[in-house]
Amino acid sequence: MTTTSDASPSPPVVEMVGVGRSFPGPPQVHAVRDVDLAIDRGEYLSIVGPSGSGKSTLLHLLGLLDRPTHGTYRLDGVDVSELSEAHRAELRGERIGFVFQAFHLLPHRSVLENVGLSMLYQRVPRRERVQRSRDALERVGLAHRVDFDPGTLSGGERQRVAIARALVGEPSLLLADEPTGNLDSDNVEAVLDLFDKLHTEGITVAVITHDDHVSARAGRRVRITDGTLSEAAV
């Protein structure tokens, strides 16, 4: 595995070169410093670090939710640093599938609608949205829950709905932020098994966590400390 790569016929999904993000002070905070990171297609990566290490900032940068103050970030070979906000929003919806610790499911909307939401802004025709949402729910083993209200589901099921929502748009990168933080141990295993399965199906997965047990399931681990990234032993 390499941390950087150039000029390959199929560019890496993520390619960060010298990326930093500082917040204006006082005092000025360098949340992420000089990060070089490449994630190849089909890779299962975990980013570990204690809280305050710059983990969240890195996640926001990877997910196009924030812009680096310096350095270059290419997503699927496209330099996204200079794009307009509207274009970045579009890319985000198209290429990134988010999984959050807090699930962020809409209450009062069915499981199916929640999954379909991530295609809403991509102009996927309605009929196709329904079909693809059903397929994605089947993929995460929740075909029997399509018409349920998220409020009636268990935590593990909710997170699987969120994962289906992240998958349904066929993103280049599944970006999970402490996906097991709100789950009990049984559900943690179920979600991690699902990530393993998705990995074997060829999905590129990046999991950000402070939990070594969770990160140990990934094929590659990087550690972030004080905003600086380093490869870690698996």
Binding site: H60, G63, L65, D66, S84, E85, A86, H87, A89, E90, R92, G93, E94, I96, F98, F100, Q101, A102, H104, L106, P107, H108, R109, E113, L117, S118, L120, Y121, Q122, R123, R126, R165, G169
Partner: protein, 406 residues
């Protein structure tokens, strides 16, 4: 930058409707202000239209066709006329005018203190004497005041010319005299003079004093009691002709001194309706507008609250590709939907209120249907105005901030 892929309008409306429908009790509270405002507006305009419609109806039906020419009466209240006497044929002169449906003269008759009684007995105690006023009219007057008989007939111009001793009793006069049928040709006595009762007058539209009195032909009153001149000419005009007849009647009756006659014409119906409408509308439109303002502020307030509550939803939508415009659009459409619903319910309530008040008042409800159609859109416009600021606030929320709230 132009979005290559946009949210379709249908999707946007669907999302907004789901957002609105998710909190029904809050929806009810949010729409309340608009409901009250629009209802107040619709019902006040509706009631204004209804009321002025009733007023003009009444004038059109009766008063708007009534013209009265009078003389002398104000000079001496007891009925004796002096300088400005009406001629005996005043009614005929007026009837020649185009637009007059019928005309007749009227006078009160001084019978020299004689009492009216139903039986020819001289009763010193006076217990059978009645203090019934005596009036005199020409045949045409019955028609001019829309007279209706309960029994018998009116006297005619023949009785008038011959000075026959016949009488038509007003309804209340007949009751007091105990006369309720005329087929046996009952007589009454004015002083010692007998008169044959030919009919009983049941209703009139004007000059209701006729119902209390014994009514003689004008010629009879002249020959028996020395009546000097009629006191008034009652004219019923064709619809819409009252103003014209009013301007011509005095000249027709007294060509030499028209200025000495007083002519009473109904107010111009249009001006009356306008007066009523502007008074009502100015007041109630102000109230309705105030209610709408409050309603709009209510929507703005609650939409703003809703934005703050749904920060994580905003963050999620941004993370699945919604631009800040999409977010603003959704909240705008939500508040437009809320305003539209409020306008719809308010319009229905306003129409109901108009109809309800009309039923209680026995009015014919009048409402411009365009108002009912327009009201929901007025509500939507208020929603649009009210939603602009909260939607802008929602669009400026950073997705990072939004997703941090766990």
């Amino acid at each position: 930058m132009k979005m290559r892929r946009r949210l379709t309008l249908r999707d946007l409306v669907d999302e907004a409707l789901s957002g609105v429908a998710a909190r029904p009790s809050r929806l009810a509270l949010t729409t309340l202000g608009t409901v009250i405002g629009v209802a107040a507006l619709v019902s006040t305009i509706g009631l204004g239209q209804t009321a002025s419609g009733q007023i003009s109806d009444r004038f059109d039906a009766t008063s708007a066709t009534r013209v009265v020419v009078e003389a002398g009466e104000r000079d001496s209240p007891d009925g004796a006329v002096q300088a400005t006497e009406l001629p005996w044929d005043a009614a005929d002169r007026v009837a020649r005018l185009s637009g007059v449906a019928s005309a007749g003269t009227f006078a009160r008759v001084a019978v020299g203190g004689a009492n009216v009684r139903g039986v020819p007995i001289n009763d010193p105690s006076g217990s059978i004497d009645h203090d019934i006023p005596v009036t005199a009219v020409t045949e045409g007057l019955f028609d001019a005041v829309n007279g209706v008989l309960s029994t018998g007939r009116f006297f005619d111009s023949g009785h008038d010319e011959r000075g026959n001793a016949v009488v038509v009793l007003g309804r209340y006069a007949a009751e007091r005299l105990g006369i309720n049928r005329v087929d046996a040709q009952p007589s009454i006595f004015i002083g010692d003079r007998p008169f044959t009762v030919v009919g009983i007058l049941d209703t009139v539209s004007h000059r209701s004093e006729l119902l209390d009195s014994a009514i003689l032909p004008m010629g009879t009153a002249e020959s028996l009691y020395g009546l000097q001149a009629p006191a008034a000419v009652e004219i019923r005009t064709e619809l819409g002709a009252a103003q014209l007849i009013g301007s011509q009647a005095a000249l027709a009756v007294a060509p030499n001194s028209p200025e000495l006659l007083s002519v009473e014409v109904p107010p111009r119906p249009g001006s009356l309706r306008d007066d009523v409408s502007t008074d009502i509308n100015a007041l109630f439109l102000a109230l309705g507008g105030l209610a709408l303002l409050v309603g709009g502020l209510g929507i703005a307030n609650i939409t703003l609250l809703s934005v703050m509550e749904r920060i994580s939803e905003i963050g999620l939508r941004r993370s699945v590709g919604a631009s800040s415009k999409h977010i603003a659009g959704q909240f705008i459409v939500e508040s437009v939907v809320i305003g539209f619903l409020g306008g719809l319910i308010g319009a229905a309530a306003g129409v109901l209120a108009t109809v309800g008040v009309s039923v209680v008042q026995d009015w014919t409800p009048l409402l411009d249907y365009r108002l009912a159609v327009l009201a929901p859109f007025l509500g939507a416009a208020i929603g649009l105005l009210a939603g602009t600021y909260p939607a802008w606030r929602a669009s400026t929320i950073e997705p990072i901030t939004a997703l941090r709230t766990n």
